[in-house]
């Protein structure tokens, strides 16, 4: 008896709470977008909105679109990969004109969603589909190019001839950073040694700190990271040890002004803003993949680089940048192209 009473009471209580809340205006949930306003929403990957990295950068791009273009923006965070389809659907239900998936981790899921909802517009960061549906835009970056530039700076500026690279999780996207960086270091300073370690995480700042501290103790004086939230720990270690760190995705100099040498910027925000601007003007390049590199202004080194990097090195970097832009220099992005690059040196 009591058992049933407990169940019944609990259910009743839930219903009561539910009714209370429902009366308060649940009907507004379905229609947040005002008439005539373009609304854009994004789903973060498991890194979360405050990852100091590309999810955050993406959100900054949307916020800029909000303030400059009057676009209505919102986001949903994912805690695990099973959340991606649910979160994407949540945004379909709230009547958004364009839905962004941030990060290649939701590549498959977003493609399936786009096929399921042919009238809904989608876009995704870091995925180039072989066959893109007409309601979907893929946006990719040549991360190896800014990584090469910061690698070149590291190679020129290292005094111990030892530098480090901390990656998030070892997959092809992060390897573009690694091999670009290693090629940059090698072309600036063939004697320099590069320590490489992956944290197997994009969120564990303590792991980043431990790895970077170990690199510094082994004699490295500059450590580059491409590891999202793990990089916070790398920069923290640099500040404690009084060494250099190189940031990623956005200008991370604000995290440790005296210790972040430069940053390999990946302007996810610019890409998001550009697509929003197009959409506000009524254009949508569905069915295509847009690639951002140095030539397109989608990647680059941080503006704060001139604080710590000597002008003569920056001038050399500028020359390399020109060679990459014109296609004279092809930056390696995986192990095979890296080995070919090194063999050609």
């Amino acid at each position: 008896m009591n058992r049933f009473k407990k169940v019944a009471l609990m259910m009743g209580m839930l219903l009561a709470v539910m009714a209370l809340g429902f009366a308060g205006g649940g009907s507004q949930a379905a229609t947040p977008a005002a008439e005539g306003t373009v609304s854009i929403a994004m789903v973060t990957d498991v890194g979360g909105i405050n990852d100091q990295s590309f999810n955050q950068s993406a959100w900054e791009g949307l916020q800029r679109a909000q303030s400059e273009l009057g676009v209505k923006v919102s986001y949903v965070e994912s805690n695990q990969s099973a959340d991606y389809p649910r979160n994407l659907e949540t945004l379909v239900d709230s009547n958004n004109d364009l839905i962004w998936g941030i990060g290649f981790l939701m590549g498959d899921v977003l493609l399936a969603e786009a096929q399921n909802n042919p009238t809904q517009k989608y876009a995704i960061i870091d995925v180039a589909y072989a066959d893109t549906p007409s309601n979907l835009i893929g946006v990719v970056f040549r991360e190896q190019e800014p990584s090469f530039l910061v690698g070149y700076i590291a190679g020129k500026m290292t005094e111990s001839n030892k530098v480090g690279f901390v990656g998030g999780v070892k997959f092809a996207l992060i390897e573009k950073f690694e091999y670009g960086f290693r090629a940059g270091v090698a072309s600036a300073n063939p004697d320099a040694e590069v320590y490489v370690q992956y944290a197997e995480s994009f969120t564990d700042a303590a792991a980043g700190k431990a790895i970077a501290t170990q690199f510094y103790q082994q004699g490295a004086d500059i450590v580059f990271h491409a590891a999202g939230g793990v990089g916070d720990g790398v920069i923290e270690a640099a500040r404690e040890q009084g060494r250099w760190a190189i940031g990623v995705d956005r200008d991370q100099n604000d995290l440790a002004p005296e210790n972040v040498l430069t940053s390999a910027m990946k302007r996810v925000d610019n890409a998001m803003f550009n697509v929003a601007k197009e959409l506000a003007a009524g254009r949508f390049a569905g069915g295509t993949t847009v690639e951002y590199g140095l030539a397109e202004g989608g990647v680059g080194i941080a503006p704060s680089s001139n604080k710590h990097v000597p002008a003569d090195i920056l001038a050399e970097v500028q020359q390399i940048e020109n060679r990459i832009t014109t296609g004279a220099l092809q930056v390696p992005f995986d192990m095979a192209t890296f080995e070919a690059f090194m063999a050609a040196q």
Partner: protein, 392 residues
């Protein structure tokens, strides 16, 4: 009827139930204050959340889908807890189960009627093995299970990431493993609904088509059956009696001729099997693959909260699993609709969960305090073995 009288006499249920209900309301109330202070209308926020959970058949379906693995990991924690062990390792056992499910689901070719049970059992066995390591270490070397299960969580995560990279399991061009065969899937009409005919049918039949947009699957049945089995094992079997006796007082159990060390290993193995089963149904019903994990997904950790809210009883776990699934799914709806920052939503959700868990925490502390009475009671009155002295 005598059972009923005994229940009445203890007077514990009405009180515990009352406390739970009061604290649910209190949790929502304090959450409302937080929202109010931050300048958002709490009624609107809760309205959005509740519409987001009950507003469409598909939403309810999603809540159930999310609840199913949480119920199983909750049962895992509950089972260990009832036998005196604190299983922080449901997270790792979940991962172990999902790895086994993917391997058996992908490489074995069988008709669906055999394949699904085989994958499910493999996931349970993998979880059981993973869990029993902690039990064995505790029994043999006195390693505290809290420490060893936490370590094993990380081992499972790294093993997951390592195995995905191996050529035999890696799906080229992705950060995920191979997908399981269609014969191992338990999502309803999962294959058909993404086919061109399926898509067309769903367009023409909005109601069912809408439900089918979620990964509606049979996982919840597995979870409910598991809850019944757990209840039965704990309350109606000799094994359950022995395990509980060890949980109450090892020395007394030992004196009573119960193999204490073996019991610890067995208990952790069963707890692990339950968490492994959660991983199994998640693979068979929702993801069909394992992906590189950048962080713990929280399936097992949420199981701890589910177990605690459910007062460490199987039926309580089922209810709190649904509640937790609803909070988890409904919570994501608030941000895009209301524009409130994610942190605020998390604070509100956390507050609600915290308040819901509190009376049970209180009850548990109370039990610990007065536990010596109960121990003596249980050992001296063996007829209580199958009784209802502390179970729902």
């Amino acid at each position: 009827m005598s059972q009923l009288l005994r229940l009445r006499r203890t007077l514990k249920f009405p009180r515990a139930l009352g406390l739970t209900l009061i604290s649910i309301v209190l949790g929502f109330f304090v959450g409302a204050i937080v929202l109010l202070v931050a300048g958002y209308n709490p009624l609107e926020a809760y309205g959005i959340m509740i519409f987001g959970v009950f507003g469409l058949p598909r939403y309810i379906s999603y809540t159930i889908i999310i609840a199913a693995p949480l119920i199983l990991t909750g049962l895992s924690v509950t089972f260990a807890f009832r036998t005196g062990l604190f299983n922080i390792g449901a997270e790792g056992q979940f991962i172990a189960g999902s790895i086994a499910a993917v391997i058996v689901g992908h490489f074995v070719r069988l008709p669906i009627i055999l394949h699904v049970p085989l994958v499910f059992v493999s996931a349970m066995v993998a979880g059981a093995l993973w869990g029993s390591i902690s039990g064995f270490l505790k029994a043999r070397y006195g390693v505290h299970e809290v420490i060893s299960t936490i370590m094993l969580n990380w081992l499972a995560l790294y093993m997951n990431n390592y195995l995905i990279k191996l050529p035999f399991l890696h799906r080229v061009g992705t950060e995920a493993s191979q997908k399981i065969q269609d014969t191992a899937r338990i999502d309803i009409l999962g294959v058909w609904k993404t086919s061109p005919e399926g898509r067309e049918w769903r367009m023409e039949n909005p109601f069912w088509g809408d439900i089918l947009r979620s990964e509606i699957n049979l996982g919840i049945l597995f979870a409910l059956i598991a809850a019944m089995v757990v209840w039965y094992i704990i309350n109606r079997t000799t094994l359950g009696y022995e395990l509980r006796a060890v949980g109450y007082n090892q020395d007394a159990a030992n004196y009573g001729g119960i193999p204490v060390k073996k019991s610890m290993t067995v208990s952790m193995a069963i707890a692990g099997a339950l968490a492994g089963a959660a991983g199994g149904i998640q693979i068979m019903g929702v993801t069909q693959e394992i992906t590189v994990l950048a962080a713990m997904e929280g399936n097992g950790f949420d199981g701890i909260a589910v177990s605690l809210i459910g007062a460490n009883t199987p039926i309580g776990v089922v209810l709190s699993g649904f509640l937790f699934g609803a909070l988890r799914y409904g919570g994501t709806k608030i941000q895009p609709a209301l524009g409130a920052p994610r942190e605020l939503i998390n604070i509100v959700m956390g507050t609600i969960v915290y308040f819901i868990a509190m009376p049970n925490l209180f009850t548990l502390l109370q039990e610990r305090y007065f536990s010596w009475k109960k121990k003596r009671l249980d050992i001296s009155l063996p007829k209580e073995a199958g009784g209802e002295s502390k179970n729902v």
